[in-house]
Symmetry: C2
DNA sequence: GGGATGTAATCAAACGTTTGATTGACTTGG
DNA sequence: CCAAGTCAATCAAACGTTTGATTACATCCC
């Protein structure tokens, strides 16, 4: 038997197996989905016994929750970082969308997992899974509203614009297993370019251009 | 056509049960996904015996294929209708995107099912499910390329623009169970407005505007 | 005309497998 | 010794599939 863990902190011997279980579950949930992954497959990939899932996480769903938790926290901290009280500007909007693009791309395993699960009903965790996405949207909405109040935007529907931006970024990155089947393989170098291009595309679509009529702050929401 | 079911062609008495099975499978696949729907649940909702799935469709996967087939054909005919050899114009682009928006919304059960299944690996039918989407993209790409050749577009990446448009439309409509959780309930009246607004948003982002260099574009986009 | 035969449609029951969960016992380092 | 870890073994339930029999209605031959 390999007792390979020196376990410096007292009874923290479980770190080894527990994190192996977490990593195995993460990779399998991503590729096979939550329902599509069996606890036996997780235990096998982690190289341990099936019952240790119950021992460490209580249940399969508890394991999923634990897989998601650090990601949700990391997303929340990133949202706080992107948010801020600086006055609205085109550069700020572009920085936000670019940051969003980078973040979605860097964590696309998470978004893929969340969306694959959310696209069907009756899936566990729907509410807590949605929280970071909701937070992202809230920050983007606030930024757009402030820009609109400052007269920077065309008379566009804020919600439509926001969902267009987020939707296209999600499709670029989280949907890339699909997108790559549709338009070809993704190269790592193209990610930044996509983020920049889509931000440009949208900002061109919502920012006032030199030829546009004079500023006016309107009130509009997506019903 | 050449399905090897026990009855190549026969009494149309089977229409009743067979179509009840199809309808039950369709509604269950949409809400529960393919893996998440049991053959017993399908048979129960159709009010017939379990083994009739094998009798009529060979297997559960054969049933899914048959559920999808008419939809795929309808999509293909719509693509042909949207395609055409008219000279590129802003109106043509807008009509295409608007038609795409209407179509995705009208058939969002299909896109939801396809994407939920495609977001995980090892799902059946991935290739044939992708076909109509691929066709949609091909037509959109050709339209954009012709518009670009005619000098109507800014110097945007066609693929990025195309995926942005399609991605945002998909997010609006197929993702609306998510989107409604994020921004509130969808009202039927808002669909057309969303299609118009997103088409406007994107066309504003890709079409050359009066202020742009070397502009010779049909500029206007309905609002 | 009427029994024999054929076939499409349907069913109840069971098959073998896989699922998530659970139990009880063995192995260790402290 | 003992509590933390780990395991093989097992459970009931659910899964997709298969079998064998039964119905209802044609078509056939005598």
């Amino acid at each position: 038997m390999k007792r390979t863990s020196p376990h410096p902190e007292g009874h923290r011997d479980d770190v080894d197996t527990r994190s192996r279980l977490l990593e195995a579950a993460r990779s399998l949930f991503i590729t096979q989905g939550f329902r599509g992954t069996s606890t036996r497959a997780i235990a096998a990939q982690a190289g341990c016994n099936l019952s240790l899932i119950k021992y460490y996480f209580g249940s399969k769903e508890g394991l999923l929750r634990e897989v998601l938790r650090p990601e949700i926290e990391s997303v929340r901290s990133l949202i706080d970082a992107l948010d801020g009280d600086v006055p609205p500007s085109a550069e700020q909007l572009q920085a936000f969308f670019l940051g969003l693009a980078r973040h979605i791309d860097a964590n696309r395993w998470f978004f893929r997992l969340v969306f694959a699960e959310l696209l069907r009903e009756g899936s566990p965790l729907s509410q807590e899974m949605l929280e970071p996405i909701r937070g992202n949207q809230a920050v983007g909405r606030r930024l757009l509203l402030r820009a609109k109040d400052a007269g920077m935007l065309r008379d566009v529907d804020i919600e439509v614009a926001l969902m267009g931006i987020i939707g296209s970024l999600l499709f670029y990155h989280l949907g890339y297993p699909l997108a790559s089947m549709l338009v070809g393989p993704r190269s790592p170098a193209v990610i930044e370019r996509i983020g920049l291009a889509s931000a440009d595309l949208f900002l061109h679509g919502i920012l006032k251009q030199p030829g546009d009529p004079a500023s006016r702050a309107g009130k509009e929401t997506a019903r």
